[in-house]
Amino acid sequence: MKYEVVIGLEIHAELSTQSKVFCGCSTKFGAAPNTQCCPICIGMPGVLPLINKKALEYTIKAGLALNCSIARYTKMDRKNYFYPDLPRACQISQYDMPVCQNGYLDIVVNGSTRRIGINRIHLEEDAGKLLHDQYADSTLVDLNRSGVPLIEIVTEPDLRSAEEAKVFLETLRTILRYIDVSDCKMEEGSLRCDVNISIRPEGQKEFGVRTEMKNLNSFRAVYRAIEYEANRQIAIMEEGGTVLRETRRWDEGAGKSFSMRAKEHAQDYRYFPEPDLPPIEIDDEWVEEIRRQIPELPDQKRRRYVEEYGLPEYDAGILTSSKDLADYFENCVKLYENPKAISNWLMGDFLRLVNEKNIEISDVPVTAENLVKLLKLIDSKVISGPIAKTVFEEMFNTGKDPEAIVEEKGLKQITDRDELVKVIKRVLEENPKSVEDYKKGKKKALGFLVGQTMKATRGKANPQLVNEILLEELEK
């Protein structure tokens, strides 16, 4: 029998506000334990939460970018349960009135577009962190993360494969970064994802029993966990068994998932309205103000790059995969109308060095102005292509102006015919064997002689001219 996999995601993204959602403590990652805490975020008695306006605005912004309708009236609720990372034994979240509802996100998988429904997005606070590894018999509690604003994005069960889930997450991450509401670093835990997964015989309408997969710390883990879990469930069905409703924990090292707890009875969180926080009214004017802050999103941008700049789909896809890269590209295009040449450089040496050095695009020392200068130097034949690569590396390391580098190191292309003739004559004299080979019909020898000439000029010779003169001299 053929089975269809049904997947829904619950994604938690930390919002990139400076301060926490209900107090003024910093949200910076990596501080010493419990140094970014105050009576409010450790839940001392009597102190009261205050909503960070920006956290709410980021939630609305995310909703707009994901095509949601925005609630005109909303409130915060309490979700009650005991856990050491939850200092008040209740999490401030949203229950029946999320800020955003009924949205969607279009993703492109294998060339075709799929629309994935967004059930809701709500604002809530993050919990603290438990440190298990230091001591055998105890766990330490660090509440720095307690109260960092989160949005929870819940999709409809519209995804049908591990690939789709992965593409969805990538697309979502790109958008959240574009609109600047979250840095979405899975390794720092600022993007987390739980996967609900079930299978059903192809053609069946009803959903199968679903399991919830936790502890997915990378996109790769999401992909692998879905593949694993789908196969596990199919194997159970094939054997005539039944899938249990449970929460499972993914072990990336083992490449397997393990049952954490049965979910026969959903835990009763006893949600009720947070009495300490006044309700929230969001009027059209506010929504429109936030909408105006949303930049052109990757999907639109990609289409525009193809239409306006005549770039191949592939180029457009890569250039728009990050807002910083797209911004960089557009800055270059403004200065120099040769989009394809710019695209080639960015997708080539630029991204290669970014990846090698593992830095952010915003930290690349090469300004758009300097990259364009470099391209102009190539176009006007001041430097050769190979030299340009060297110059670019230098620019990438030092942030220097390419003209200065070319000047300093004397890298200008030699285009003086007489000078090159001299050099080439010498090369031919020094390599009589190759000349002979060439004359015998071994055309490959020409390449060697070009190389020798370039070497003799330390790469500065205009390659076309070298070819031309060499042929002339060899024919003599």
Partner: protein
């Protein structure tokens, strides 16, 4: 001179005339505390050294410069569920026996900034849940009018300390009548402000949607003075964003001519002591005699207030008290097997039965399947009560009713339970559940010589009107002047 017997404004007069020093005032109050508190037991924690040091500094300042505020140097007490930085704040619970908050409640800070002198922290019921302080982890507070009787609850320490002249006034909290009941039982003045009028920041949460801090004082003028100091919006409590402050001391005119006062008929039908009924009806007549239009009014939905209050309070309490888990502060069991055991042993040993009952009741009311029948229904009934009161306040400037149906009873006469509390709240719950202001003032004595309180409720932010009515009543009666007949010395 017995300085401790003075009211705030009398003491201020003497200080301004340089007839007494701050130290003399504070020493006098301290002496009274040492004299009577072994019997009254109003205090959980005494901050006597700090108080003496404060008064020494104030005298030094006063010698140099004038212009200290009215409450400067005046001894006061604070109910022990209001956080005071550096001074242990217990909520009368084993759970917080050793809790020293690193912050102060805004209401306390505002008085401290005026350089009021804190004498100590006053007894209450555990997490304010009780009628008699019998649920206090520490001891019972006794009524200065009769030491065999309760002083009310939960704010008994605050009311008794004021009645016994141990402090000039006190800050207390009111969630369903705590402050008003205790003030009435002890024959002093108590004001529960409009919800959102006084910051709840630093007040240990009980029923978050009803908790308010207010003054307990010897007379209406002192009450207005203190209220003026603590009222007004505070950035740390979002619910105070719309607080509108008036000139409360300035509003104290001996004139209520033309004011319309409703007399709540439902209170006098059943379940009320004869003496209380007579005293409050007499008080209404007095108000009429002073020029107010007094008219009977029926508000049938207020009968539902105690039930709605009970459910909402329990629900909020069940969530608010989840934070006491032995990890960040407060009591923690020494030995436990695992995390769950830590939670259960800490909470079982750290809380008393009344608190446990409340927490379970709230847990029940919020549970799946019960939420609609109890919690949500209580919120809807709250809407009905609120609407009915709003309608009444279109016609009336204030509504008069008893504060309690009885006077202070003897210890052991009634079982202190959630059910008893529920019944005792019947006159105080309506103002709490609707968030409107209410004041209690002495209006008579029963056959045993125990004080009776009259309650005035008004529309939101009408404290000035309530204070004016109370002041006028006080100016024309002498119930407030009588002090407990016990000779302490």
């Amino acid at each position: 001179m017995e300085l401790y017997k003075l009211t705030v404004h009398e003491a201020v007069d003497l200080i301004n005339k340089k007839e007494v020093t701050y130290q003399q005032i504070v020493q006098s109050a301290l002496q009274q505390i040492h004299e009577v508190d072994k019997d009254v037991k109003a205090f959980i924690t005494l901050t006597d050294e700090r108080a003496l040091e404060d008064s020494r500094q104030l005298d030094a300042v006063k010698a140099d410069e004038e212009g200290l505020s009215v409450l400067a140097g005046i001894p006061f007490g604070v109910e022990d569920n209001i956080c005071t930085q550096g001074v242990r704040t217990t909520c009368a619970s084993k759970m917080l026996d050793n809790f020293v908050p690193p912050y102060s409640a805004t209401a306390f800070s505002r008085i401290a900034r005026q350089r009021g002198v804190l004498m100590g922290k006053l007894n209450t019921d555990e997490f304010s849940m009780g009628l008699t302080t019998e649920t206090s982890y520490f001891h019972e507070t006794r009524n200065p009018w009769d030491l065999n009787r309760i002083a009310g609850g939960a704010s008994a320490g605050a009311a008794a300390a004021v009645a016994a002249d141990e402090v000039f006034y006190a800050l207390a909290t009111d969630t369903g009548g705590s402050l008003r009941r205790a003030a009435a039982f002890c024959g002093v003045v108590g004001l529960k402000p409009t919800y959102g009028m006084v910051s709840r920041y630093g007040v240990i949460s009980s029923g978050s949607s009803m908790d308010q801090v207010g003054p307990i004082a010897k007379n209406v003028k002192d009450c207005a003075l203190v209220f003026q100091a603590i009222a007004g919006s505070d950035k740390a409590d979002p619910m105070t964003a719309t607080a509108r402050v008036a000139d409360y001391v300035g509003a104290l005119a001996d004139d209520i001519k033309g004011l319309r006062i409703g007399l709540l008929r439902e209170c006098f039908d059943k379940g009320i002591d004869k003496d209380v009924k007579e005293a409050v009806l007499n008080a209404a007549k007095t108000l009429e005699g002073l020029g107010a239009h007094v008219e009977e009014i029926s508000l049938p939905s207020v009968e539902l207030a105690p039930a709605a209050h009970c459910v909402i309070l329990s629900a909020e309490v069940s969530s608010n008290l989840g934070r006491y888990d032995g990890i960040k502060y407060g009591y923690r069991v020494e030995r436990c097997q695992d995390l769950d055991d830590l939670y259960k042993k800490t909470r079982t040993q750290g809380f008393g039965d009344e608190v446990k009952l409340r927490v379970m009741l709230g847990t029940y009311a919020l549970s799946a399947g019960n939420y609609e029948r109890y919690y949500l229904q209580a919120l809807k009934v709250r809407t009905i009560i609120k609407a009915e009161l709003e309608k009444a306040f279109e016609k009336f400037d204030a509504v008069v009713l008893p504060t309690c149906s009885t006077t202070a009873w003897k210890f052991g006469d009634k079982v202190d339970s959630a059910l008893a509390m529920f019944l005792a709240d019947k006159y105080t719950a309506p103002a709490s559940i609707a968030g409107v202001p209410a004041i209690t003032i002495p209006c008579g004595f029963d056959v045993n010589g125990l004080p009776i309180g009259m309650q005035l409720m008004g529309k939101p932010f009408s404290e000035a009107t309530l204070l004016r009515i109370a002041f006028t009543f006080e100016q024309n009666t002498d119930y407030h002047i009588k002090r407990p007949a016990i000779d302490w010395r």
